[in-house]
Symmetry: C2
Subunit: 280 residues, 2 copies
Amino acid sequence: MAALAPYAGHAHVVGLTGSPGVGKSTATSALVRVLRAEGKRVGVLAVDPSSPFSGGALLGDRVRMGDHSLDEGVYIRSMASRGHLGGLAWTTPQALRVLDAAGFDVVLVETVGVGQSEVEVAGLADTTVVLLAPGMGDGIQAAKAGILEIGDVFVVNKADREGADQTRRDLRSMINLSERRDGAWKPPIVSTVARAGTGFDELAASLAEHRAWLGETGELTRRRVKRARDEIEAIALTALRTRWGQVGRNADLDDLAASVAAGESDPYAAADRLLAGLET
Amino acid sequence: MAALAPYAGHAHVVGLTGSPGVGKSTATSALVRVLRAEGKRVGVLAVDPSSPFSGGALLGDRVRMGDHSLDEGVYIRSMASRGHLGGLAWTTPQALRVLDAAGFDVVLVETVGVGQSEVEVAGLADTTVVLLAPGMGDGIQAAKAGILEIGDVFVVNKADREGADQTRRDLRSMINLSERRDGAWKPPIVSTVARAGTGFDELAASLAEHRAWLGETGELTRRRVKRARDEIEAIALTALRTRWGQVGRNADLDDLAASVAAGESDPYAAADRLLAGLET
């Protein structure tokens, strides 16, 4: 990592997120095709546990990305994400850094749609793309799930389906309603049909436009410092968790947990003992 | 918390999770009604950012829980969850502990469906209920999203809709395929129509059956020790994050982040400096 540090900072990191079923994987694949046609080298990190790239080759979905499997300008890596607090925050930035230092022009980070992990991963990206599809919960659900705040570019996929116009309208009015400072980025809404590859030239153009805006306003540096901060913190926390897992090294976390579960102690007192162990 | 510790351990903690749109809030409300009819006192914690209970009173969804607003045997509390790593893991167990010590018989924890936060909250519950609905992604999506492993009881809500039989069949065959040890719990599948209140007697019976199984097998204690462990760790980590946010107290995290973002340092070296600051 120390050796890679001076080479990082070139790649445009683009996060793609959305609920299961909106067509994220197909859209990612279609976007890769357009970026490749522009001559860009593209890395894909799939941190979505429901992604065909990450482990579960259920129903042959993996085939969708097969288009790119012989293309040396495309690198695809799946990230195991489940199981421990801050897992994504720890491993994803490392993989990003490697792809960035290796000279990829764009790194796409595909994540599943709702909750904590989405927000974590939004913090990793220079540009966050939120995908919706008609009838998949629509704009109101989007607003509730808090995705309006994290989206830099919105995509209404499956735009040939009934209800797509309504989804676009809902989204537009909610974006207009949300408070934005003067000079702030106004998220565009791009319509796509991922299975047909329609709309991805426009999406690629929106991504490039957002990247340019980030550079001009200094927002790029701000986001990347924030990202580094989260990464450092996650690495430090992971190191601490490893120490706490080692019996006898500090106050034994398992013993403390058993006494809390039995009602003999409270978790604050137990946490104090754990932290006191660090300082000796 | 120290004063509450001896009074905890009575409540049956039930997590309810599922994607936005499966009808979690309506189902939670219907389940509360059945549990109240059995004479049980019920607490509800909503840690779903899309829940009508937690902040966003969009479209008057809040009305659904209005049925219980005058019932003194029901307590409803919404938990803000977004924004920082481990937020749920820190605040939700505290609220659980208070409701438990206050003598609630059942505490329902409602969370949104996919990703890290769901898995975190599954760790908090004695019994995890996973809700699906026909056409909302179905069984295959469920398998991909990793929810098969965390569900103790599955609910196919909107069971009067087309495709419900298929969702049930998919789910059943996937549960049968998944590896389970001898004597392990075999998750039942309950069909409900939340808007009509249908199927919730059966759901309440399945929950009671799972609670009995947990007690008989010693699994209850195992889960609760695990929960205490996560809680202690989260409290300790939160305390550390607060320290790291204080300029000058340790190595300054913001300065370290700026140097990593600029490519002058790597995040591992920065994390080492942060941790070294703890020990002095």
